[in-house]
Amino acid sequence: MKVLVPVKRVIDYNVKVRVKADGTGVDLANVKMSMNPFDEIAVEEAIRLREAGKVAEVVVVSIGMKQSDQTLRTALAMGADRAILVVAADDVHQDIEPLAVAKILKAVVDEEKPDLVLAGKQAIDNDMNATGQMLSALLGWSQATFASDIDIDGDHATVTREVDGGLRTIKVKMPTIITVDLRLNEPRYASLPNIMKAKKKPLDQKTAADYGVDVSPRLEIISTGEPDERAAGIKVADVAELVAKLKEAGAV
């Protein structure tokens, strides 16, 4: 069985996001970039499936700037076997929309014929939470989103999903798209020897045009602004004053 894992290069989750003064977006120039944390979980799960003997090959794919090859190398260092880079943007500020990403991924799936696509449930930059569901729709496959437990058994997968208020288990037909949530696993760190080895693993480079996909955005970004600032608060001297303030504010 082959697994395809899409990974996205995003601003590192520890970096403070700064809105550009001209309102055109978030400043991504000279900012530390990392693999989207949810995608790391998807890569980890794919590698664990291979280690468990259920999967023969883990292929990672990234769609974006040329520099996304670094993110793919990280996935290869974690243990993925092979990588595909689809260059679709030449500016870090050009975010390829989930619909276009899903169309490119569909073309990659048609070519690679994986049995399973494991994706992060959302990217922490645009927070759209859409690519997996959209890819599933375009392929006409089943989908299981927000997974916290995955059990693959022949032509079915049993997936426990994180839903509002609890967990829901569903059984989906293979091939399928599973998007992963935080509780699924704790991704490993790549060891130095594995980072060295990853440099020799195959990484194919393509373009969006190779797949005949138009990546023009459907959503025009009119402006990007700061959220409303919180008014400065006060320090209280002790617990008694805190309780008094909370009562005054009607909070308790």
């Binding site: 989750y13 944390p37 922490i124 989103t145 509780r183 617990v239 909070a251």
Partner: protein, 308 residues
């Protein structure tokens, strides 16, 4: 302009709050038709018909729609889509599962977690876990959106829309429901709780979290944790509040022993009132706190439980 709104229906019952808040966003766009798709959704449809501003309610009563499986629900919505310019749903886990699928089937982009309606084409939504607000204008012929319910007031009662039963469409049969496990805890769910008490690395141990739980129970709240506390093994991952965890906006958020890393602030800074208890007075959490208490949490939290 006509709007189709997928109601949030759980266990055959209408989630009135989430649906009513989405109605408020939808009313700004045109005449609102609510779709209730569930197994035995008659009661939900009757409840939806009473929401102020709703013109019509469609009731698709079929076992296939009983557990929010994405594939059959998306196919149903797409079969109805021709009559509508906007298709909306509250940004719940079930709608986030289905709406992007609907959008892709219609070859349009989805807009998730919309927090503001500017006009029929233009919407605001948070990105980077709320660290920036983007205004986007859609060039698609149909708009598919999910609505961040904390950003809208609930529509009132007093409507009397007509309820119309509609037939199910063919179920692609790609998935089936096995079971639901509702959270065992008596505590409210983290993302919808009115009060959240969260602990950070300062708690120091898994046992230390019992103090956080005690305070949460005293206030009838949910328990949260910073990523640092989760990574240290003090708290389970599903308690994590932050950019890589859950985004919460309760009426009262109490951060205990949390320094206030950016990624944590992103998950809680829309809370109405924020209280921070930390012994380090330089901790960044105090910059977003309405009420900050510089104190040892192991003294302050028991005293707080006592005083409340």
């Amino acid at each position: 302009m006509a709007v189709l709104l997928l109601a949030e229906v759980a266990g055959g019952e209408l989630s009135v709050d989430a649906t009513a808040k989405t109605v408020t966003a939808a009313k700004a766009l045109g005449d609102v038709t609510i779709l209730c798709a569930s197994a035995g959704c008659g009661g939900a449809a009757e409840a939806a018909a009473k929401l102020d501003g709703v013109v019509k309610v469609l009731c698709a009563d079929d076992a296939a729609y009983g557990h929010d499986l994405a594939e059959p629900v998306a196919d149903l919505i797409v079969s109805l889509a021709g009559d509508y310019d906007h298709i909306l749903a509250p940004a719940t886990s079930s709608a986030k599962n289905v709406m992007p699928r609907v959008a892709a089937l219609l070859d349009v982009m989805v807009m998730s977690d919309v927090s503001g309606v500017v006009d029929g084409d233009t919407f605001q939504r948070p990105i980077y876990a709320g660290n920036a607000i983007q205004t986007v204008k859609s060039s698609d012929n149909k708009k598919v959106l999910t609505i961040r319910t904390t950003s809208f007031d609930a529509a009132g009662q007093g409507g009397s829309a007509a309820v119309e039963s509609i037939a199910a469409v063919a179920n692609p049969g790609l998935s089936e429901w096995i079971e639901d496990k509702v959270a065992q805890s008596d505590r409210p769910e983290l993302t919808s709780a009115g009060v959240v008490v969260s602990g950070g690395r300062g708690i120091g141990s898994e046992d230390g979290f019992q103090l956080i739980e005690k305070l949460a129970d005293k206030l009838g709240g949910a328990v949260g944790a910073s990523r640092a506390a989760v990574d240290s093994g003090y708290a389970p991952n599903d308690w994590q509040v932050g950019q890589t965890g859950k985004v919460v906006a309760p009426d009262l958020y109490i951060a205990v022993g949390i320094s206030g890393a950016i990624q944590h602030l992103a998950g809680m800074k829309d809370s109405k009132i924020i209280v921070a208890i930390n012994k380090d007075e330089e901790a960044p959490i105090f910059q977003v706190a309405d009420f900050g208490l510089v104190a040892d949490l192991f003294d302050a939290v028991p005293a707080l439980i006592e005083e409340l």
